[in-house]
Every structure is written in structure tokens, then in C-alpha cells.
């Protein structure tokens, strides 16, 4: 014995099957309605025969109409409409003729004139077939609209995942270049322990950046660990000029955020605060609860934004604008309206203030 698993499926999932179901149920309904009204009017049971014949001819004729409509649908609108009306009128005439002929054969001696019979039957069949056609086109229209909406949704999904892929953090090649150069020097200096420590930090950091999916979310704790790896590597070059400070409230350490969201902020701080100042700068990363939200602040004690921009010989030709806009976009992608992003620039430093919902849930796997 085979057991059929119940699988809920939209009614129109199989268009062909839905058509046959509707067609059969519809005409059966029409027959029952007309039949019961005939009986209720006190007619003999034999008068059900013309009703049945009329129903069967309606059923068959509408099958033919469906074939014609299927062809007409692909034509220009004016042709579709005009030819459809003509088709319905002709088909109604055919059904009415059959009805009238059956009626007159059954009721020989009736004094109703042939034309009168035909017109009465025509009125009835026209109504039925008209309603059938309207329903046919309405359902088809509905299905087309639905399909287009589905397609639009798919396209939107594609577009937003493409956008996410673009927004994803990309490793700065200069960083890799500088780090490998430094490690090469350490090897030449025969400081193998330091060289090895740097290599393993670099590989951990690379693993983290390379496996990051555009939609991946990590805990603040993980993000901070990555930042520490990065800063340890950069400290090899900048030494005491780079002074990182972390203030992570344990209450928010497990809250989730898009991975490598803060990385570009720290890179910017090194670029614009540590590099241009002889005494270097402090870079502080703070995460704390703020009501329902998590507030993250990345700030530096550098020269601030404007001075950084007008500094002569600024080695970085692209401004911070792109990087910051990128982070804002990623926040919007992840949290919609429920986030905020602010920058503050003073002569004493530059800071970025991000607020996002406290998000302690395990990430729900997004179907690829």
C-alpha cells in the first residue's frame, strides 16, 4: 500500500489540472442549478434530458473555446478582444441551436416558433459562455500578474545579493604587501618566533576575511577578536604609535552584527589618525547596551576628518566617503530602519557611532 504524503500546493501550481477541475466542477454546478430549478418548476424528470444535453454541449464547446483563447491570448490586445467576442457569440449560437433543436424534437406539436426558441436559448447560452470566458481571462490575468510578481521578487533577491557581495569587506592589498614585507625582514633578522607569530596571525585573519559570506553575521566578540588580530599585525609596523583600546560590555558581547563591519573603520583610523601623526594615535572600540540597542563607537585621537582631507601628500587618493557609505549600506541591508550611523569629527579626533538592535539569536540559515 502506498501512502500519499499530503503536500500543500497552490491550486494553480499545475495549470492544466486546475483547468480541468474548474471546468468539470463548474459545468456540474451549472447542470445541478438548472436541473433543480426545472424540477422545482414542476416539470417531469424527462425534461432533465435537454438540460443534460445542453450542459454537455456547453462543456464541449467551452473546451474548443479554450483552445481558441489560448491562441488568441498571444495576439495583439485588439485582436484578442475582438476575436474572443466573435468566438463567444458563434459558440453561444451553436449551443443555442442544439438546445432549440433538442427542445423542439422533444416537444413536437409545441406551438412555439423556431426563432423564438432559438433566441431564448441563445440568451441563456450567451450568459453562460460569457461568464465562462470572463472567468477564463480573469484567471489567466491573475496568473500572469502573479508570475510577474514572482519574477520581480526573484530579480530583487538577485540584485540585493549581488549588492551585498559588492559591499562585502575586501582585503586591502597594501596591507598584505606591507605585512609580507615586514615578515620577510623578520626572517632576515632571524627573529623566527616573531615572524612565525605574525604569519599565524595573518593566516587567521585571512581565513576570517576569505570565508566571510556577504550575509554572514558574527558576534561582537568574534568581530573584536578579528580586529585584535589585525591590530596586532599592524602594530608590527607602527609599534607604540598604534594604541588600541577595547571597551566591550559583556552584556552585548554575544550580540550579532554583519561580519567585518567594523574592520574598515579601524583601517580608516590607522590610515587617517595613526599614519599622519608622529606620536601616533589611540584607536578605541566601545560596545555597550543602549536600551533595546547596542551602541558601538569606533573613535581615534587623530586630526579629524577635514584636516585629514586637506593634508598635503595624503597618500590615499580615495576619501573615507566610500568606505563609510558602504558600512551604512550594510547596516541598512541587515537591520532596515532599526539602525543608525553617525560620524563626528573634531580637531581632537574622528568617531563613528553605530546603533543596531541587540541581536542575541543564532543566525537563521538563509537559503542560498
Amino acid at each position: 500500500m502506498s501512502v500519499h504524503r499530503f503536500q500543500p500546493q497552490p491550486f494553480f501550481a499545475d495549470k492544466n489540472r486546475a483547468f480541468w477541475n474548474l471546468q468539470s466542477v463548474g459545468w456540474a454546478g451549472a447542470f445541478l442549478l438548472r436541473g433543480s430549478s426545472t424540477i422545482a418548476n414542476g416539470q417531469p424528470l424527462s425534461s432533465l434530458i435537454p438540460v443534460m444535453i445542453s450542459t454537455v454541449s456547453g462543456y464541449s464547446v467551452t473546451l474548443l473555446i479554450a483552445v481558441v483563447f489560448r491562441f488568441l491570448q498571444r495576439q495583439r490586445p485588439i485582436v484578442t478582444w475582438g476575436a474572443s467576442i466573435v468566438t463567444v457569440v458563434v459558440a453561444a449560437g451553436l449551443v443555442a441551436f442544439i438546445d432549440a433543436w433538442v427542445f423542439s424534437t422533444q416537444n413536437r406539436g409545441s406551438d412555439t416558433a423556431g426563432l423564438q426558441l432559438f433566441l431564448g436559448a441563445f440568451y441563456l447560452s450567451m450568459t453562460l459562455l460569457g461568464a465562462w470566458s470572463a472567468l477564463y481571462y480573469a484567471i489567466n490575468f491573475y496568473l500572469t500578474v502573479e508570475e510577474q510578481a514572482d519574477q520581480l521578487l526573484r530579480l530583487e533577491n538577485q540584485a540585493s545579493s549581488a549588492q551585498l557581495a559588492m559591499l562585502r569587506y575586501q582585503l586591502n592589498p597594501h596591507f598584505l604587501f606591507n605585512t609580507l614585507n615586514s615578515i620577510s625582514t623578520l626572517v632576515l633578522l632571524k627573529q623566527t618566533d616573531r615572524a612565525n607569530a605574525m604569519l599565524s596571525r595573518l593566516s587567521s585573519f585571512l581565513r576570517y576575511t576569505l570565508i566571510n559570506e556577504p550575509t554572514a553575521q558574527v558576534t561582537i566578540e568574534q568581530e573584536i577578536e578579528t580586529l585584535k588580530l589585525y591590530l596586532e599585525i599592524e602594530k608590527m609596523r607602527f609599534e607604540d604609535r598604534l594604541r588600541p583600546v577595547f571597551n566591550i560590555d559583556p552584556a552585548v558581547a554575544q550580540s550579532r552584527l554583519p561580519s567585518l563591519l567594523l574592520q574598515p573603520l579601524v583601517e580608516n583610523a590607522i590610515k587617517y589618525a595613526v599614519t599622519p601623526k608622529e606620536e601616533g594615535a589611540e584607536i578605541s572600540v566601545t560596545a555597550q547596551p543602549a536600551g533595546e540597542n547596542v551602541r558601538i563607537i569606533v573613535s581615534d585621537t587623530g586630526p579629524g576628518l577635514n584636516e585629514g582631507f586637506t593634508r598635503p601628500n595624503n597618500p590615499v587618493s580615495e576619501g573615507t566617503g566610500v568606505g563609510l557609505a558602504n558600512i551604512r549600506d550594510r547596516l541598512i541591508q541587515a537591520f532596515g530602519e532599526r539602525q543608525s550611523f553617525e560620524t563626528r569629527s573634531t580637531p581632537g579626533g574622528f568617531s563613528v557611532l553605530i546603533e543596531m538592535p541587540l541581536n542575541l539569536d543564532e543566525p537563521s540559515r538563509v537559503a542560498a
Binding site: S182, T185, L188, N313, P315
Partner: protein, 99 residues
Amino acid sequence: MTIRTILVDDESLAIQGLKLRLEAHEDVEIVETCSNGREAIRAIKTHKPDLVFLDIQMPGFDGFSVVQGLMEVEPPLFIFCTAYSDTLSAPLRRRRSTI
């Protein structure tokens, strides 16, 4: 006769790396190393070297400022050092008129 050389870089690891690699050449004599632009100007004025390896990107007084600060004395030969391929071309183009 040796080539008297001064190395200028704000990153000590970079200085060490440069030093190590230059030590292989017997005709290069490193007379001093400097970690910023002001030190570099002073050292160049004192030692009058033949050659200076000069980092462009340094905090405060960068490589170009060092060259400009030495315009009144007879400047040595400079080799600019940078990690950024685009650092050199853009500022050089900008500065051609001023130097």
C-alpha cells in the same frame, strides 16, 4: 671609496630590513638612520651623504618636505621608498611645478 648612505623611514622594521639588505653590498656604507623628516634633514646636513633612501609617507615631515628643505644645500641622490604604487606618481605630477 664607499657610497655614504642615510636611511630614512618611520617604521623601524623597514629601516632594519633596508639595512640588512644593503649590508650585503660592501660599497655601501650606512652612516646614519633616521625615523622622521626633521631628523633626516639634520643628518643630511651634518653627514653630507652620497645617497639617501627616503620614505615618502612619514608622519609630520614627509619625504617631499625633506627634499624641499634641502633645496638650499647641495642635495644628495635620493631613492624614494614607498609601499604605494600610486603614491609616487600623483604627488610627483602635482609637485613638478613647485620643485
